[in-house]
């Protein structure tokens, strides 16, 4: 039965989850927008970030909230390395460039998963206690879990920061310019490889932030990225490939649609709503809601 309380609760939960989905997806959108490469290892980046947060908690006794900037920094370095070590060569392919890029990042995903299984075993882990874990804020019968609440705040802050970086800094202008025409920027003295490496680093750092927050309330195991990566792809496609603001809006839409569907249909079918909206967007606006391509 639908009471006002359950509807408000569903929408609130959906909004919080949606902001987190957006934060997970934005790195994917950024990288795609920058150089037209879909990172199929995006879910594994998330997994690595969650293990990094777990490591900080277990070995350094750092709360995931404190560790979040460290995890983001580590992922920044990792993302940049992935570009310099793998993707840089993959995009140089003369024939079948699209396939080579897909296989390069897909292969990376499999390697990362295998490594995680080998190093950390397939056991399920979680961070037993943290400042925000296991706490809930209750407002007039509406329960808002603190980890998701903090996640939503971090997501909004990250998007605001990203907006400023892209619009107000030289790096952001270089990013935009490289995106517009990667060949022409070389003529004005912008090192394309450097911009791409920073772009990959930034994308990875954002998913690192999401991973550190998620580690406070989600279980951690080598395949954890898979289900979130799927949602991230839908989010990006929905919001518009390459659009950072689109990923933000897409995440919120996915979260709200998921919550609304679960109110009407049996919960096992809650993804149906997301894919139905996605299908509608593909039919009527193939470039995505805010896509500019």
């Amino acid at each position: 039965m639908l009471t006002t309380a359950t509807i408000v609760q569903s929408l609130a939960s959906g909004l919080l989850m949606g902001l987190l989905y957006g934060l997970i997806a934005v790195g994917l959108a950024l990288i795609f927008g920058l150089m037209d490469v879909v990172n199929f290892a995006h879910g594994e980046f998330l997994m690595a970030a969650m293990y990094a947060a777990l490591g900080c908690s277990v070995f350094l006794a750092l709360d995931p909230l404190i560790a979040a900037p460290l995890v983001a920094a580590a992922l920044f370095a990792f993302g940049a390395l992935v570009y310099l070590g793998i993707v840089r060569f993959a995009v140089r392919a003369k024939t079948n460039a699209g396939m080579v890029q897909i296989f390069a990042t897909f292969g990376l995903a499999i390697v990362m998963r295998g490594l995680a299984q080998w190093l950390f075993t397939p056991d399920y882990r979680s961070i037993p206690s943290s400042w925000i874990g296991n706490r809930t804020v209750s407002i007039a019968g509406i329960f808002l879990p603190l980890p998701q609440l903090v996640g939503a705040v971090v997501a909004i802050a990250a998007f605001a920061g990203l907006y400023l970086v892209i619009r107000r800094t030289d790096f952001g202008r270089a990013l935009e310019a490289t995106r517009e025409d990667a060949g022409a920027v070389a003529l004005v003295g912008i090192d394309r490889n450097r911009v791409f490496a920073y772009g990959w680093g930034l994308g990875a750092a954002l998913v690192g932030l999401a991973g550190a927050i998620m580690a406070t309330f989600f279980y951690i195991y080598p395949d954890v990225g898979a289900s979130f990566a799927l949602i991230a792809y839908v989010t990006v496609a929905l919001g518009g490939f390459g659009s950072v603001f689109g990923a933000f809006a897409g995440g919120i839409i996915v979260g709200l649609v998921e919550a609304t569907t679960a109110m009407i249909l049996p919960p096992a079918l809650k993804s149906v709503g997301i894919y139905a909206v996605y299908l509608g967007v593909v039919f009527f606006r193939p470039r995505g809601l805010f896509g500019s391509i």
Binding site: Q9, S10, S13, M17, D123, P145, S227, A268
Partner: protein, 415 residues
């Protein structure tokens, strides 16, 4: 009658041959053991080898245990013959299982076969055994359909999945008699074969026994979020929440319940995730008093002293405690050897007749069972599962009466 030297010679030779034949027959009985020894479930097979070797050791040498064949060396019914095990690897593949069973029977001349962990492999192995009229003892296959195929040589001493669910409802009935209010149930199950089969069995049992299912929630396994599902559970607020979930979803369920401020009156889980250490490491403190089903529990040692001693012997080999699987594997070989001993023969048909006549009291097993007695389909219907309650950081057996060492804490949030 004149007895010639030749007659005497022939006679004595004949009797000598007969004695040697009997001696050869008596020296050992070969039993085939088919398990996954390589591949993804290899660990199960390796643990099983230790369990079977422990059982063979107890049968073949003298032990002071209240188990069949423990106090004698070898099988007295066959002149002290020793049990020899031959292990075969089916790699979790039904076709490899069929081929290995065939090889064990025709080349290694095994008297019987035990196996196999995976129910799908048990299907082909037991069909092969049926064709050669060799008994197959299912140690740890839990699919309910296995004994319903009309096979004459199929036997299972342990419980199948439907009996596990039935035990939960027996437990509810018993609690109701004591004056507890249990009227409504909420089923929460994942969408693969384990969860759907489990919820179907529970739905049917609830209908038969007059419990009202107020929520039957199927969810997608490994969902990123279970918020909507938990909201519905909370709204239904049933007397008992019955999850059938693997570890990941189990952890997320408990965490989400905590976040949405929902603590059920009681939780009775279908094994799987709720028998996993990882789940209790992550969220055990939030669900003190949760009940899960199992085939075995170590605290049975308080009621059945041989459990502790067998566990020590097993641990010396494997470095692990007996669990749901190794306990059933151990017991299967004892039951089989006991039947061969009473048959006084290693012939398939005679062992079968002896298995049919088996009536072993539960006290002489290491299991929580009432007894071992096979029905016409080869199923032991007295193989009671146990219900275990998570209190004080460990599991305590609370049901059935013959195995319980503590009263159930009900409802769970009384703790």
């Amino acid at each position: 009658m004149r007895v010639s030297r030749r007659t005497v010679l022939i006679g004595s030779t004949a009797s000598l041959v007969a004695t040697t034949l009997r001696a050869q027959q008596a020296s050992e009985v070969v039993i085939g053991v088919i398990y996954p020894l390589s591949g993804a479930s290899a660990q199960i097979g390796v643990d099983a080898q230790h369990a079977f070797n422990t059982a063979a050791d107890i049968i073949n040498t003298v032990h002071d245990l209240d188990l069949p064949l423990a106090k004698s060396a070898g099988l007295p019914g066959l002149g002290g013959a020793k049990v020899r095990l031959i292990f075969a690897d089916h790699q979790a593949d039904p076709q490899k299982g069929r081929a290995e069973a065939e090889r064990l029977i025709t080349q290694e001349k095994v008297a019987a076969i035990v196996g196999t962990y995976q129910s799908a492999v048990a299907v082909t192995v037991s069909e092969t055994c049926e064709r050669y009229e060799i008994p197959y003892l299912s140690a740890d296959n839990s699919s309910p359909s296995l004994n319903r195929r009309g096979l004459k040589f199929y036997f299972r001493a342990a419980a199948h999945d439907e009996m596990f669910s039935a035990a939960m409802f027996d437990f509810f009935d018993a609690l109701k008699k004591k004056g507890q209010k249990i009227e409504t149930l909420a089923l929460f199950h994942e969408d693969t074969i384990f969860g759907t089969d489990s919820s179907n069995a529970q739905l049917k049992l609830a209908g038969d026994r007059g419990y009202k299912v107020v929520a039957n929630i199927k969810y997608r396994a490994n969902s990123p979020s279970l918020t909507a599902e938990v909201q519905q559970l909370k709204a239904a607020d049933a007397d008992v929440l019955m999850p059938s979930s693997y570890t990941t979803d189990g952890i997320l369920l408990v965490k989400t319940m905590g976040e949405l401020g929902y603590l059920p009156k009681a939780m009775v889980a279908q094994d799987a995730g709720f028998a996993e250490k990882a789940l209790y490491d992550a969220v055990g403190d939030k669900i003190t008093g949760v009940i899960s089903r199992g085939s075995f529990s170590l605290d049975l040692a308080a009621k059945r002293p041989s459990v502790g001693k067998v566990n020590d012997l097993y641990k010396a080999r494997s470095g692990k405690d007996l669990n749901d699987y190794s306990s059933r594997q151990f017991m299967a070989l004892i039951v089989l050897a006991d039947a061969i001993d009473r048959a006084k023969s290693a012939e398939g048909e005679k062992i079968r007749a002896s298995l049919v006549a088996t009536d072993l009291p539960g006290e002489r097993t290491i299991m929580p069972w009432k007894r071992v007695k096979f029905d016409e389909t080869g199923q032991n219907n007295d193989a009671d599962p146990v219900l275990l309650q998570w209190t004080g950081g460990k599991f305590v057996t609370i049901y059935p009466a013959q195995a319980a060492i503590a009263e159930a804490i009900w409802p769970m949030n009384k703790t």
